[in-house]
């Protein structure tokens, strides 16, 4: 068997050899990172967003690039999933968007701080992550109903916020129900009331009270009532 000297040699040679390889690969990786497209889009805004991300220990609940605390959603692709408008509304009052659900601290971010955070999330979402996070494999596609019957076009607000949770014609989120035939179930007046204050109509619902103006509510409900 080995002598003590040979064992020591194994330890020393192994350690130095692999440390050297590790340093070489580190050099190469940094070269790769700093020459990739992501380093060109790393703006002041993104950097400020990262500072806010760290200053408030967002990683203490969320994960980003798969690193964090698994208590709140993975945010690498949140920009793609929810869109900037939704994130903006959400960050102003997180609990209002998920009434009665897992809580997030309400931070008093200013408008520009929220923009910085959104820029940071967008930047991370655009990184080349070698296939992470994986696309779900057995996801059932939402049923497509004749959403073409709508004569009113989809309001901008709908695309920005509602599609984060609801889907129409197969595209959108799956948190809330698909809205393809919502007009069959509810009339214009009901939808208007609903959008004004969902909790009042159906206490305990997961649907948040969104910061919508009266004209936006009008547009949205007339659009929705046409989906039959």
């Amino acid at each position: 068997m080995l002598t003590k000297f040979q064992a020591k040699l194994f330890f020393l040679v192994g350690t130095f050899l692999f440390s050297a390889v590790f340093l070489m690969l580190t050099y190469d990786s940094l070269k790769y990172v700093y020459s990739s497209p992501s380093s060109r889009t790393l703006s002041e805004e993104v950097i400020r967003g990262k500072e806010l991300w760290e200053k408030n220990n967002c990683m203490g609940c969320h994960t980003i690039l798969g690193e964090g605390a698994y208590y709140a959603p993975e945010l690498t692709k949140v920009y793609e999933r929810r869109g900037p408008e939704w994130i903006r509304v959400f960050l102003k009052d997180p609990e209002a968007m998920y009434p009665g659900e897992r809580k997030m601290v309400k931070y008093d971010f200013s408008e520009s701080q929220i923009s910085d955070i959104i820029a940071f999330l967008k930047w991370n979402g655009e990184l080349d992550l070698k296939g992470f996070p994986p696309k779900p494999e057995y996801k059932t596609s939402t049923q497509i109903v004749n959403s073409e019957s709508a004569s009113v076009t989809q309001p901008e607000k709908f695309k920005q916020i509602c599609t984060a949770c609801h889907s129409v014609a197969g595209s959108g989120g799956n948190v809330g129900p698909a809205l393809d035939s919502v007009g069959k179930k509810y009339d214009l007046a009901y939808l208007q009331n609903w959008l004004k204050d969902p909790q009042k109509v159906k206490p305990g619902t997961a649907m948040p009270k969104l910061p919508l103006t009266d004209s936006e509510i009008k547009d949205l409900s007339s659009y929705l009532s046409q989906l039959k």
């Binding site: 020591k8 760290e54 220990n57 698994y70 709140a72 696309k135």
Partner: protein, 456 residues
């Protein structure tokens, strides 16, 4: 104990027990939050509880390692510690930094990088503190009457741990680079230099408890730490699969991660074979339980469960899920918590002169905490597998999935209660030993410390 100054170790151990108790309390806060009882949200939001829980873990383990060094290094170097006063100053300042950081977490003051949440200004104090410690222990080794491999490996481990804290203090603008260097600290600590510290403590305990020849034990110590670095350094790559660095990390990280369990397997086989070689039985059987237990559990938790999700094909799905929490809990417990408990159990009778070994409370502490921790690991595993399947395979919404797996956290909290019962028993035993006295000097003879008895 052989030297008066070894008594310092006791105060490090006592701090350890205090911080561990706090860590468990914060663990419960999080367990309940995950069950849906987030009643403390306004005072201790999840991110504060989480940062406190993990930072306390790091600090109490480091305190334990420092305590171990204060016990082992004088013994191995055959002299008193270089400066007793420095040791106490260092301990007190360590506690201060820890307490200030933890209070800060509750007021939204932190650096916000997982495991490295301590705000940067306090980082500098940590550096000064650790330099004090390294100087004091280093001078003891330097001026010692003999240089043993055990002492050198332990010191090299502590030194490298301090050195590797530095890359975590540099600021990077890119999340990719930030993440890259954060792992230099976190991974190279727990899967590199901390294993040196663990190896050092383990070999000291095996020399004392089994009476096997020092030459034999120290030779294997070199082989084990050699294997650790051979696999662990490039094994850092398993954190680099999906952060935006070159593709080759999947191959490098995957391959060397496959080798990582070897070091732990060697450690377990080494501990067991040394135990079987021992001619006589040391009376402090519980210390032996913790020692062998640590080697075995670190193989299960760090080696096996780590291997279970480090291959890139698997990690693609398990990355950033509760599977990591499952592996993390048993790995830290087996490799580092248990070895601290081992040295503590071994040293306490010698520090206080009270032969309180092999009592029912001590045995209960060992079994309850281990069974509890295995139960917690199981709960995390089931929750994690369900999460991966529902969220990553079926594409269900995050919060929907969390509701589905809430029930597993009831299991987690129940297992945590068993674990806590064990830890309480351990602490009761610790308190029963009382404080160290000078009368315990030279108590090795009476303690049946095999190798020492043979030497004299």
């Amino acid at each position: 104990m052989k030297y008066k100054s070894q008594k310092i170790a006791y105060w490090f151990f006592a701090t350890c027990m205090l911080l561990l108790s706090l860590q468990i309390i914060y663990g419960f806060v999080m367990g309940f939050a995950r069950m849906g009882f987030d009643v403390l949200h306004d005072w201790i939001p999840f991110n504060a509880a989480r940062a406190t829980h993990t930072n306390l873990l790091v600090v109490w383990l480091l305190t334990g390692f420092m305590g171990a060094a204060h016990y082992i290094i004088p013994d191995e170097s055959d002299r008193e510690i270089y400066s007793e006063k420095l040791a106490y100053i260092q301990l007190i300042s360590l506690i201060l930094v820890g307490v200030v950081s933890i209070i800060g977490f509750h007021f939204n003051i932190w650096e916000g990088r997982k495991f490295l949440e301590i705000p940067r200004p306090l980082d500098y104090l940590v550096v000064v503190n650790v330099l004090l410690f390294l100087f004091n222990i280093g001078m003891t080794v330097w001026k010692g009457k003999r240089y043993t491999t055990t002492a050198l490996v332990l010191y090299f481990g502590l030194f490298s741990a301090a050195l590797l804290y530095l890359p975590g203090m540099i600021q990077f603008n890119s999340q990719t680079v930030d993440s890259y260097f954060r792992w230099w600290v976190v991974h190279l600590w727990v899967e590199g230099v901390w294993e040196l510290i663990m190896g050092g403590i383990l070999s000291f305990l095996l020399i004392k408890l089994t009476g096997v020849d020092r030459e034999v034990i120290e030779k294997w110590l070199y082989v084990i730490v050699g294997l650790t670095f051979l696999s662990g350094i490039l094994g850092t790559g398993h954190h680099y699969y999906y952060i935006g660095v070159p593709e080759y990390w999947k191959w490098v990280g995957g391959f060397f991660s496959m080798l990582e369990p070897l070091a732990f397997l060697a450690m377990a086989m080494f501990a067991i074979s040394m135990y079987r070689k021992s001619g006589r039985n040391h009376p402090n059987t519980i210390a032996l339980f913790w020692t062998i237990g640590s080697a075995v559990m670190s193989f299960v938790g760090a080696g096996f469960l780590g291997f279970a999700h480090t291959l890139p094909q698997v990690n693609l799905y398990t990355h950033g899920t509760l599977i990591t929490a499952m592996h993390g809990h048993l790995a830290f417990w087996g490799a580092y918590a248990m070895i601290v408990f081992a040295i503590l159990t071994y040293a306490m009778p010698l520090l206080t002169g009270r032969k309180l070994w092999n009592n029912p409370t001590g045995l209960f502490a060992f079994w309850a905490s281990n069974i509890g921790m295995l139960g917690m690991t199981g709960a995390f595993a089931v929750a994690g597998i369900a999460q991966v399947y529902l969220e990553r395979k079926l594409g269900l919404d995050f919060l929907t999935v969390q509701k589905e797996i809430q029930v597993h956290f009831l299991g987690l909290v129940l297992a945590a209660l068993v674990f806590t019962a064990g830890i309480i028993a351990f602490i009761i035993n610790f308190i029963r030993f009382g404080t160290p006295t000078d009368e315990a000097l030279g108590a090795e003879q009476a303690s049946g410390d095999i190798s020492l008895a043979r030497r004299s």
